[in-house]
Structure formats: C-alpha cells, structure tokens
Amino acid sequence: MQNELIKEGLTLMLAGMGTVFVFLTALVIFMSLISRLVMRFQSAPDTGNPSDAEVAAITAAVARHRQK
C-alpha cells in the first residue's frame, strides 16, 4: 500500500516532468519556426534590406507604439 503510493508519485513525477518538457519543447520549436516565417514573410515585399534611416524610423515607431 505504502509502496504503491510512492510508486504512483514517482510515476506522476516522471510523466509530469516529461509532459511539461515535451510540451514546452514543442512550443519552442513551433514559435521559432513561426518567428522565422513571419520575419521572412514580412520582409518579402521589401526589395532588399531596409536602409539605416528606415530602421531608425521603424524602431522609433515601434517604440512609440509599444509605449501606449
């Protein structure tokens, strides 16, 4: 009976930490993929890289936007 309890606890711990890591690993992988896709997709319409001036303007705009 007592061994049963401990065994059940160990099982839960194993399954639990396993699932937490599998889940968060999957999330890391998916979000990394999506980040790359988004970045490629968003810069696709541009002809080449933005100029320094453009970068400065965008950064300022984003900063202003995020402050809201």
Partner: protein
C-alpha cells in the same frame, strides 16, 4: 430577563469556539501581511477578510445560503473564477520577452520540478504515516510549487476542495515571500562569475508573432494535453484579446473591471474555506511545510537548469533568471534582477527574467493539466 438571555445566547461572545477565535487572529495576521507588509495585497486582503467573516459564529455567511458560500459554489466549485482570472492574467501579460528568446521556456519547465517533488513528498509523508493525503490531495498540494494563485485554486477546487483554504493561503503567502525565500538558494547554487553574466539585448517581437503565439499555444494544448485546455485556453484568449488590436475595449474591461470584480469575489470565496473546522487541522501544517519546500525546490531546479543551458548554449545565459521560472509574476523576475544587480551593477536582467517568469505560468498550467488527467 429571557430577552437579555436570548440576545446573550445569540451573541458571538457566547457562541464563539476557541478555533474561531484562533482563526480570527490568523485572518487579522493575513490582513496585516497584506496591508502593512504589502504581501500580495489583492488576495491576502480579500482572503483575510473573507476568513474573518467565515469565523463569525451563529450566522450563515460561509455556509448554507450565505453569500460567501454561494460565491464559492458558483465561482470556485465550477472553476469559473480562477478561469476568468486567468483570462485577465492573459490580457495583462506581455509574452514579448518569451517570444524574443523562446529557449527560456525550458527554464519555466525545469522550475515545475518543485511541483512534482512536493507531490512525492506529500505521498512520502503519508507512506510514513505522518500525514494522510490521498493522491488527489497530494497533487493539489504540489501545485503550490507552481507559484501561481489561480492555477492552485483551480486545481484544489477540482481535486481537493477540503484543502482549498490552506492551499490558497500557502500559495499566495509564499508568492509574497519570494524575495525572502529565493535569494539564499540562488546564491548558494551559483558562483559570483555566473551571477555577473550579462545577456544580449532582446530583439523586437513583431505584432504577427504576438497574435499567433496564443493560438499556437492553444492548438498545442488541444493536440497534446486537453486536460490543461481550460486554463491555457483562457490565458490564451485573454492574451489574444490583448495583442490582436481589434478588440481593445474588451481587453481593457478584462484588464480592469472584470478581473478586479472577480478578484474580490474569488478572495472572499477562498476566505469562506478558512473556517476553523476546515482550516485548523493537521493537514494545514503539512501543507504550509510542503508549500515552502515546493518553492525552494522549484527555485533550485530553475537555477540549475539555467546553469546547464549556459554551459551548452552559444549565447550566455545568467542562471539567476532560472529562478524566475517558478512564476510568481512579476516578483520572481524582480528578485532575479536584484540579485543580478548585487553581483554586477550594470547587469539589468529584468526583461530576460520575464521570459522564464511567464513561461512558469504556462508550465504550471501544463503540470495542472497532468495532475487533473492522471487523478480524475
């Protein structure tokens, strides 16, 4: 004569039990911690006052048709209040730092070890005959280590309603004590050189990524662990309202009137479980003890994972931010920042620590889903 006798026999002085008197003192202590020491005041003030109300003898407040009991039945028994709070947490949370550096999710994962170690500890105490916790109760106690109030209340409401009062009090009290509990553990497990590590600045995260994130989070839960879907789903919904930019009026209400109203009712409802006969039992002592162990183990696991990641990663990672993986948002991130500043006055870790910090919220909700799946 019989008139005065009737008033006297209905008075609190006549009817009060010793347990109720003790609980009134304990609840005043919770109010003191919330008001004077500013420990998680939103919850300790409401829970503490609810606890006072629940220990007034001879009147239905926390029982029967009393208001606090109705709040408990309709708000916590159904899971509605913690889920709505989680929606509000989603609407208040900026997942940007996490998206800028997704690997910090691993720190949030590691810190959940405190949950499962505590579960094992609770079962161990039972096996040794010191305590008498069922597996469901042990699972609910373990979640204290998630350092996330609504998750703990949600799980306790499902798996161990009889222990909900003690679990909620332990969760919020220790979340408030994070600045005392964590630093010694963090310093013991790291070298001065590790604590001084500076991290590269986080990249900007685009609006598209921010919008897609809650949807990916929900779909992954749907595919992998449906039992965590209520918690994660409401968190993702609140965050989608926040980030999508087209329902700002809903997001604003969620972040203010709605979460505030539910916080008041949740606190009072939790307080209704602080009645003497439910709270003054040996289990409560066990829960308070196991709770602090859970926090300590979670903190240590996060820091050790940080050390490991720093070893294998190309970019430097300061292991202190691993401690923020227990959640306790945003207190744990601030603690990581402060300990970092003590070691290196130019080292601003706050935004880097926010990543594991919010990852810890997701991690403990996933752990909660596991617990619910296996034990119900």
């Amino acid at each position: 004569m019989s008139l005065i006798e009737q008033i006297w026999q209905n008075s609190g002085l006549y009817q009060m039990t010793g347990g109720q008197a003790v609980m009134l003192v304990i609840c005043l202590l919770l109010l003191y911690l919330g008001i004077v020491r500013k420990f998680e005041p939103l919850l300790l003030v409401t829970i503490g006052f609810g606890g006072l109300l629940s220990n007034i003898p001879g009147v239905e407040i926390a029982t029967g048709d009393g208001l606090l009991h109705l709040m408990y039945v309709f708000g916590i028994g159904t899971g509605a209040f913690p889920l709505i709070i989680f929606m509000g947490v989603g609407a208040l949370t900026d997942f940007g730092p996490l998206l800028a550096n997704p690997r910090t999710l691993f720190l949030g994962a590691a810190a959940q070890f405190g949950i499962f170690a505590t579960l094992l500890g609770a079962l161990g105490l039972t096996a040794m005959g010191i305590m008498d916790f069922s597996v469901r109760e042990a699972a609910a106690i373990g979640i204290i280590g998630g350092a996330d109030g609504p998750t703990a209340i949600y799980v306790a409401g499902k798996l161990a309603p009889n222990l909900l009062g003690a679990i909620a009090v332990a969760a919020y009290s220790y979340m408030a004590l994070v600045p005392l509990i964590q630093p010694p553990i963090m310093k013991a497990l790291t070298t001065a050189a590790e604590r001084e590590i500076e991290m590269v600045q986080l990249r900007e995260v685009s609006k598209a990524e921010r919008i897609i994130f809650p949807l990916v989070l929900l779909l992954l839960v749907a595919l992998l662990l449906p039992s965590a879907a209520p918690l994660i789903g409401m968190l993702a919904f609140g965050n989608l309202m926040r980030e999508c930019g087209v329902v700002d009026r809903l997001s604003h209400t969620t972040q203010n009137a709605l979460i505030n109203t539910v916080t008041i009712f949740l606190g009072l409802a939790v307080g209704s479980k602080l009645s003497a006969e439910e709270f003054l039992i040996p289990s409560t002592l066990g829960i308070l003890l196991l709770g602090i162990v859970a926090f300590a183990i979670g903190t240590a696991s996060g820091v050790l994972m940080g050390k490991l990641m720093n070893l294998v990663s190309k970019q430097p990672i300061n292991p202190l931010i691993g401690a923020a993986g227990v959640s306790a948002v945003p207190m744990a991130a601030r603690v990581a920042n402060k300990v970092g500043l003590d070691a290196n006055p130019h080292n601003i870790l706050l935004m880097h620590a926010m990543g594991p910090n919010v990852a810890g919220v997701i991690g403990s909700a996933i752990a909660a889903g596991i617990m619910i799946m296996f034990t119900s």
